[in-house]
């Protein structure tokens, strides 16, 4: 398409690199997202059930987890990226490329998602929990059959928000050697002033966010009665 070559001269000359950047961003999202989902869900549940008045009230566990989450949430991501480099090397074998940035992404977004899950579960009516206990449910059953099931819609919304904020983190991670769209936009769009690359990156990200948002809202609605 000759028109595109005129309109987006720099991008069209670097198409393969652009596709790879898109792929890298997706890869970072999927890998770190999956890990964050599992850990965040577990921590969110632990916070909910161990907090004062919870069904498995446990002050020490709640206090420790609560403080750790606050600690990691208060560290700016760009600092976390460099601070966790040794850990990243120890676990993943490298501190660069997609592999090297999974660890800081997980540490950066899990606390956020845990809090999101905690507040999603907090919306569960206390009466439902009480009713389930009165019917002979064990605390574990209450977690799976009441908390998770009944707050499916808010949890889906929490996932949506986390995926979107994770996209912001992957762009930042790109700047320190992870690759991906953030890195692509900064290297060409910013450093070499190739304005068309900046714009296309923005459009791709906006589209991605919109799709995630739309899908999340669709699923959340489907699970609300």
């Amino acid at each position: 398409m000759p028109e595109l070559k005129v309109l987006l001269p720099n991008l069209m000359r670097r198409l393969p690199e652009f596709w790879k950047a898109c792929g890298d961003t997706l890869l970072m999202e999927v890998w770190s997202g999956a890990i964050i989902f599992v850990f965040g869900l577990i921590f969110g549940i632990i916070l909910t059930v161990t907090k004062p008045g919870g069904i498995m009230e446990n002050r020490p566990i709640y206090q420790v987890l609560d403080k750790i989450i606050n600690l990691f949430r208060s560290i700016p991501f760009i600092i976390l990226l460099t601070a966790l480099m040794p850990l990243s090397r120890a676990i993943m074998g490298t501190a660069i490329y997609v592999r090297g940035v999974i660890v800081p992404l997980v540490f950066g977004a899990t606390p956020f998602f845990s809090r999101q899950v905690e507040s999603a579960l907090a919306q569960t009516d206390k009466g439902l929990v009480e009713a389930a206990l009165s019917m002979g449910s064990s605390p574990l059953e209450v977690i799976f059959r009441v908390y998770l099931r009944e707050s499916l819609a808010p949890i889906i919304r929490a996932v949506t928000i986390t995926i979107i904020s994770l996209l912001g983190l992957t762009a930042m991670a790109g700047a320190v050697g992870a690759g991906g769209l953030g890195d692509f936009a900064i290297r060409y769009g910013h450093d070499r002033n190739m304005i068309d690359i900046t714009w296309v990156t923005v459009i791709v990200l906006v589209l991605g966010v919109s799709v995630v948002q739309w899908l999340g809202e669709f699923l959340a609605r489907k699970n609300t009665h």
Binding site: G127, S134, M135, S138, H225
Partner: protein, 347 residues
């Protein structure tokens, strides 16, 4: 049989403040009984009923159900024991993401899909909403929601049903229908029902025995009829008064209504039936036998626990000795006579 002995439950608001929600309560509820626990809000009745299925674990005391000490059960045993104690709530507490069928099926375990479906249908027929199994709770009225909640509470064929203000969020007509359902279930299934309420109407309607709770203690307990006809404690009297028209006479007197103006020689009294048998024509008999006019100002007689409760407010007119003889006669017939106002003997 439910036996509570010296049950104590405190809540700690902060380090220095603790609230005695349940303060040394002992109670015995027999099998097949409909037992009412009545009290103003904050009296501790909701906490007390949760001490029965240990949703609240008492700080001390003993909770025995059919002779088994609940406080000594291991967690697994406790969960199992709870399946035999149904509970319904003021806010129904149905799971909004589940259909009626799924809600009622929640406590059912170790059954095939078909068995579950059959059991749920049976239960929904029992509570008289057979056509709602695929509806979501948000599509139901309050009365229907409570019926689903009752079906769910009965899913494991419990021996006991605890009702925590189960009708307080419902309108009077629906309340009546739900109470009737509870009465029918008690008869049909022989299930023991414990009713927590702040409404005397509810107790009057379905309970045979009741306890009055105030500030964490049980201040009066016994037959509902006795509690109604002869309340011992001031709090109980207040409760009874909320359902009786006879107390309106005080308002009339305070308002100086012409209805309650006495002529000289007249005497106004409240006649309250204490004994369960008031089939005799007490007013007309006394009027003829002692030659006094007896004018009925207010009357309120109700059926409580299958017997009549209530009385009348009357004005006696006639020679004072005749009036006194009529009053003596009433007292001999087990009627409590309270003089409200006396215009004195005419000069």
């Amino acid at each position: 049989m439910i036996e509570l002995e010296h049950v104590v439950k405190n809540f700690h608001a902060d380090k220095n403040n603790s609230i005695h929600a349940v303060n040394d309560v002992s109670l015995k509820i027999n099998d097949g009984e409909i037992f009412g626990i009545i009290g103003f809000s904050g009296a501790g009745k909701s906490t007390l009923v949760r001490c029965i299925n240990l949703l609240e674990r008492p700080d001390s005391g003993s909770v025995k159900i059919d002779g088994v000490e609940m406080m000594n059960l291991k967690p697994r045993e406790l969960y199992k024991a709870r399946t035999k104690i149904g509970m319904i709530f003021q806010q129904f507490n149905l799971m909004p993401s589940r259909t009626v069928l799924q809600n009622v099926a929640y406590p059912l375990k170790n059954m095939t899909r078909e068995q579950v479906r059959e059991k749920v249908r049976e239960l929904l027929a029992l509570v008289d909403i057979p056509d709602k199994e695929n509806a979501y709770p948000s599509e139901l009225s309050g009365g229907q929601k409570q019926r689903v909640a009752i079906a769910r509470a009965l899913a494991n064929d419990p021996n006991i049903l605890l009702c925590d203000e189960a009708t307080s969020a419902l309108d009077p007509q629906t309340t009546g229908a739900i109470l009737q359902l509870l009465k029918d279930l008690n008869k049909k299934l022989g299930i023991t029902i414990v009713v927590i309420t702040h409404e005397m109407e509810v107790v009057k309607n379905i309970c045979r025995k009741a306890a009055v709770m105030h500030q964490g203690k049980i201040i009066e307990t016994g037959d509902v009829f006795t509690i109604f006809s002869d309340p011992q404690h001031q709090i109980t009297r207040n409760f009874v008064r909320t359902t009786s028209n006879l107390s309106k006479i005080e308002t009339l007197i305070n308002d100086n209504s012409p209805m309650v103006k006495l002529k000289p020689g007249e005497l106004m009294a409240r006649l309250v039936y204490i004994h369960a048998d008031v089939s005799e024509p007490l007013i007309s008999y006394a009027s003829r036998a002692f030659d006094v006019e007896i004018n009925i100002i207010l009357a309120d007689v109700e059926i409580v626990a299958g017997a009549m409760v209530g009385g009348t407010v009357v004005i006696f007119n006639g020679p004072r000795e005749n009036i006194n003889r009529a009053i003596e006669y009433y007292k001999s017939k087990n009627i409590r006579v309270e003089i409200i106002k006396d215009a004195g003997t005419p000069e």
